[in-house]
């Protein structure tokens, strides 16, 4: 991993900056979303972008262990979205 300011000029650095920005923007929708489905979609977007952020960081640091975290986070984020969507639709989860 390149240290210093040179890192942000590489492809990994630019992609990491864009992913961080894409993670921060849905937080506004989670906080001030007028309805509950808005908040659910925004939290799903946060989960997906954090997964992408882990993958980019694994590519930048030449480590394979962060892919485990990425796969786990993708699965857990999907299950959370499904559970919240069923709660909005039916009024109960199980």
């Amino acid at each position: 991993m390149i240290s210093g300011m040179n890192f942000w000029l590489t492809a990994d650095g630019i992609a990491l900056a864009i992913a961080v920005l894409a993670t921060l923007l849905p937080i506004y929708r989670v906080l001030v979303g007028p309805t509950i489905p808005d908040r659910i979609a925004a939290s799903d977007a946060i989960g997906n972008t954090v997964t992408i952020l882990f993958v980019i960081y694994a590519s930048a640091s030449n480590s394979i262990f962060l892919f485990d975290i990425a796969v786990l986070l993708a699965i857990v984020s999907f299950i959370g979205t499904v559970a919240m969507a069923k709660y909005v639709d039916k009024g109960k989860v199980l």
Partner: protein
Amino acid sequence: MTTIIAQTISKAVFAICLMYSVNLFIHGANYPGGGFIGGVLLVCGIILIYVTFGINRADKMFKQDWFGWFGFGLLFASIAAIFPMFKNHNYFRSAFNVVHFEFFGISFGELEFASSMMFDVGVYFVVIGGLVFIITQIGKHKYSPPKEKDEKNVSLDRKDNIILPEPKEETEITDNTVSAAEGLQ
């Protein structure tokens, strides 16, 4: 009871969860992973089936006593812990052996087997049984509205007389959903 799209997707995701949890469990001795996180990932898959199919149909699918899994895992971990004491070793003493896979002169790599993996198997079953049992018991709990008061004591304030509606019951199983659900059995 959700749409058939969610049910089909959840079955595929359950298979991926099962495969990946076994992967995490096997290389958990020297790398990130282990019995606990593998069990938690498999619980995620099982709970996804419970969420999409409803608790009644998912219980019919799995046909498992989850608390029995908890007890089996605890028994297995205890046996793995006290087994070295029969050979005059300490409690929880473990050993390992590296096995080379070589068939017909072709090497298939090597895998390290540790005796503490038996303890990890126990942790795996304890996590699966305990978490699924807790979540299904919470899901079975129904909100019971407060009992109706005596007619003499009914207050004229309208807030006190509102009875919350009960959650919707499971709808009857139609033919399309039954044929889709039988794939997992």
